[in-house]
Amino acid sequence: MSNTLEGFNSQAATFAADVDQAFWINFWISIILFLSVVVPMIYFAWKYRADKVKNEDICKVTHNTSLELAWTLIPTAMLFVLFYYGYTSMKVLRTMPAESQSIVVHVEGKKWSWNYTYPANKSGYVHKTAELYVPKDQNIILKMTAPLNDVLHAFYVPAFRMKEDVVPGRITKQWFNSEVIGTYDVECAEYCGTRHSYMYSKVHVIPRTDYDEWFESKKRTPGAPDVTISKGQELYESNGCAGCHSIDTDAVLVGPSLKGIGAKYDAAYLKDAIVNPDKDIPEGFTAGVMPPFTLPDADIDEIINYFNNTDKGKELYEANGCAGCHSIDSDAILVGPSLKGIGAKRDAAYLKDAILHPDKDVPEGFTAGVMPPFTLPDADVSEIIRYMQSAK
């Protein structure tokens, strides 16, 4: 889950500046209009206060045609200006670029997760991701929808100033073109129920080459480790982290085990833990033991990526939105039951059934009909089950 709203006050899309310009024009016109009402009011209330005015001096004017015309026509003119800017900023937001010059990504919003389906790459592989990766300076068209039995959501990227509802049964579209490399939060802005406030995702704007490399590969995410040792692992090892932390067992060496740490904490926390290790100390450990590391941001990101590194099962688990309803590494009940340690409790056949026909056997305390039945290939189901079994 995202814990920071990254880039919320940056103008990260080409049209963000148009929207902001419209807003600020409106802001200043509003200030003028506001003052044109409030300043005379306060001035009159003071100037003509009861103990200063003699009854004979009270004025009787009830009409003044030129004044009345002025305060009708001048604001009207200003309103037309505002309409114009509202309209033009809408135009840039809503005029889709040609599909041939854009990357078209299908977005599905459902209770309570987002997933993205890319067009097939050269080798015919179709990327499905839980976060959106796009190259810098490239038109992206989002074709959005929700499953028919789902509800409304809205795909909202504050940093891009763009938003459009996701409507079951309809395709809605948005486009953007981001010029600034970075990671931006996606929020769900249309009320959709229990976990509406956690329906986040991210847009990663990455350099063209990284994107292309990823797109033509079968890697889960750009920067995810390939078969060989990844940059992150290399850094992890070259910086001596491995000396104090175990990463694939629960063993506590000097510091805590980092097994599964990527799933427990968000990137900001992890970065902090590397750069400022003394700020937030996990229970049972003392400050001052781990030295602060001064590494370039990119390297830290690599290490964090390495933490996040998982298998196909996790990928599917996230891409299908299971995480929107089930926690896997804590006992928290989100919408469905926590799946922590589920592998020990249930056998594989049961778990398969639970995914394909969730209403057949409903655990106590939950109602049928909440979890949608998933139709996934058997292979994928086994991958997910393996992942659930491995997550203890």
């Binding site: 995202s2 920071t4 709203l5 148009d18 929207v19 807003f23 409106n26 509003s30 506001f34 009402v37 409030v38 009159f44 209330a45 003509y48 206060r49 009861a50 005015v53 009854n55 001096d57 009270i58 004025c59 009787k60 004017v61 009830t62 009409h63 009345e68 305060w71 009708t72 604001p75 309103l79 505002l82 309409f83 800017y85 509202g86 900023s89 809408m90 840039v92 937001l93 028919l148 039995n149 509800v151 409304l152 909202y156 504050p158 940093a159 763009m162 938003k163 459009e164 509802d165 049964g169 309809r170 939060d185 802005a189 249309e190 009320y191 959709c192 129920g193 229990t194 509406h196 406030s197």
Partner: protein, 551 residues
């Protein structure tokens, strides 16, 4: 001692002995108005409590006291009560009933028994709404907008809430109908439309909206009930329905509804400003006609709530353009009020303070409304706290503030007593400051991307929510203090005569204070304008026995 409407009444059925039953069965418009006020006030505190609950929950990111589902029910309860139980019936049911017939010199509304029935329909509807709190499934968690298909899928007791909203809608229609006929038929002889006080104009315009917009939402709710109960397909996409159609139908009512709320409130403003400036109102006709045109244009702009719904871009453009036209008559009203203060003799009593406070807060509410009427900007701001702040500025800082202004203004009329002015002013300042502290930060949070209906949020927004929290505390403290001042005023206040404010409209020319059962002893002949002042004194004077002019 002459008898007031507190001492005797007419009843709908028979004439019971007990005072309690007399209140329950009363057809007297003044008593019915007071009963509405009492009931609304009770619901009000429920809604305020849920508001505070939300504010507590939002004090910091993460879960504080309540879980997501409870929060969702909380804002639904808050929205439903505030809108359907409080602010929509609000001013018409309370002041429309109490003072509108007095203002036009009528003995009662056109259908007093229907009025009584409407009141009980309102109670019935409210009871259904509240009852769903105690059913197993719990109160609806859809938000007050009941958007399909969420409202069709959720397991909570949406049907109760929908039925309640429908029944309350019926009550609202009947109130409007009653007032329309009253205003058309029962004006005192001589009182043409352009001699009516502006509050009556506000009620008149509102009554049309009640009559011609409410049925649309009524039937929409019925369709949703049919769909949920019988499983037929109307709005549910899994059966081919289109959720956007639901949004259209919902806002066809609910946008005019916001003008239904504000127009009578503007009416109160138009009463207070000339009285406390001791001079005739500036531009009577433009104010009266702007009420009518706001009501008219208000029917055509509902689509500004659908800018991001997937509606066609052309429709967005049309709606945006039309929306701007609403701001023009509103602006005219504002400038007319300010011009009324020019070279007047401004008495800063509590009602006037509230009125001036509202000019500031509603101007902010309205101008931010204009911001989000700009399509491109609203695409960014829709469903963020910017919108939430906009409508609280408009509804709380506009309608409710003017409601309070009206409560101070007509308090001596209704009770025959006066509250403690200095204390009432303190209550005003507390609420004014508290209100701005409560809602202004939310504009910034919204602009930065804080979505609404979030029970948990990103840490960046914490600071704004915390300001807001303290504002809410100050606000509610001022609110409680204000009601305490009213209570003291009613029980211990000094008795006042019929016209303590030197006002000119007919409701202040009563034979006794508080007014007698059948209002004016005689129906006056109205050959004067509503706000005639000369050298700071009302021009028209009556002999209260015969209601003939004696000036």
């Amino acid at each position: 001692m002459s008898k007031s409407y507190f001492d005797e009444t007419h009843c709908a059925i028979g004439h019971p002995k007990s005072t309690f039953m007399q209140w329950m069965l009363t057809v007297d418009h003044k008593r019915i108005g007071l009963m509405y006020a009492a009931v609304m006030f009770t619901f009000f505190f429920i809604a305020v409590s849920t508001a505070l609950l939300m504010r507590f929950e939002l004090f910091a990111p993460g879960q504080q006291f309540i879980d997501g589902d409870t929060f969702n029910q909380a804002f639904t309860l808050h929205g439903v009560i505030m809108i359907f139980l409080f602010i929509v019936p609000g001013i018409p049911a309370v002041f429309g009933n109490i003072v509108m017939p007095l203002m036009i010199g009528a003995k009662d509304v056109s259908f007093p028994r229907l009025n009584w029935f409407t009141f009980w329909l309102y109670i019935f509807g409210s009871a259904i709404a509240i009852a769903s709190l105690f059913t197993d499934a719990g109160f609806a968690d859809t938000g007050w907008t009941f958007y399909a298909p969420y409202s069709l899928n959720t397991g909570t007791n949406v049907i109760f809430t929908l039925v309640a909203a429908f029944v309350l809608g019926m009550a609202s229609i009947l109130t409007g109908l009653n007032f329309l006929v009253t205003i058309h038929r029962l004006r005192a002889p001589g009182m043409t439309f352009f001699k009516m006080p502006l509050f009556v104009w506000g009620i008149y315009a509102t009554a049309w909206i009640q009559l011609l917009a409410t049925p649309v939402v009524g039937i929409t709710l019925i369709l949703a009930i049919m769909e949920k109960y019988f499983g037929i397909g109307i709005f549910d996409p899994s059966k081919g329905g289109d959720p956007v159609l639901f949004e259209h139908l919902f806002w066809i009512y609910s946008h005019p509804a916001v003008y239904l709320m504000i127009l009578p409130a503007f009416g109160i403003m138009s009463e207070i400003i000339p009285v406390f400036s001791r001079r005739e109102i500036f531009g009577y006709r433009t104010i009266a006609l702007s009420s009518a045109s706001i009501a008219g244009i208000g029917y055509l702009v509902w689509g500004h709530h659908l800018y991001t719904s997937g509606m066609a871009d052309i429709a967005k453009t049309v709606f945006s353009l039309l929306t701007f036209f609403v701001a023009i008559p509103t602006g005219i009203k504002f400038y007319d009020w300010i011009a009324t203060m020019y070279k007047g003799k401004i008495v800063l009593s509590t009602p006037m303070l509230w009125a001036m406070g509202t000019i500031i807060t509603f101007a902010i509410g309205g101008l931010t409304g204009v911001t989000i009427a700009m399509i491109g900007v609203d695409i960014h701001l829709q469903d963020t706290y910017y919108t939430v702040a906009h409508f609280h500025y408009a509804m709380l800082g506009g309608v409710v503030f003017l409601f309070f202004a009206g409560m101070h203004y007509w308090f001596p009329l209704v009770t025959g007593k006066m509250y403690d002015e200095p204390k009432a002013k303190i209550a005003f300042y507390m609420q004014f400051v508290g209100f701005n502290l409560l809602w202004f930060p939310m504009f910034i949070a919204g602009f930065l991307g804080m979505p609404r209906r979030y029970f948990d949020y990103l840490p960046e927004f914490q600071i704004y929510h915390q300001f807001s929290f303290f504002g809410a505390l100050l606000f509610v403290a001022g609110l409680v203090f204000m009601f305490w001042v009213f209570y003291k005023g009613w029980t211990k206040g000094e008795k006042v005569g019929p016209n303590p404010w030197h006002a000119t409209t007919l409701e202040w020319h009563m034979p006794t204070s508080p007014p007698p059962l059948e209002n004016h002893s005689k129906v006056p002949y109205v050959d004067f304008d509503p706000y005639e002042y000369h050298h700071g004194e009302p021009v028209v004077k009556f002999d209260y026995e015969t209601m003939r002019r004696i000036d």
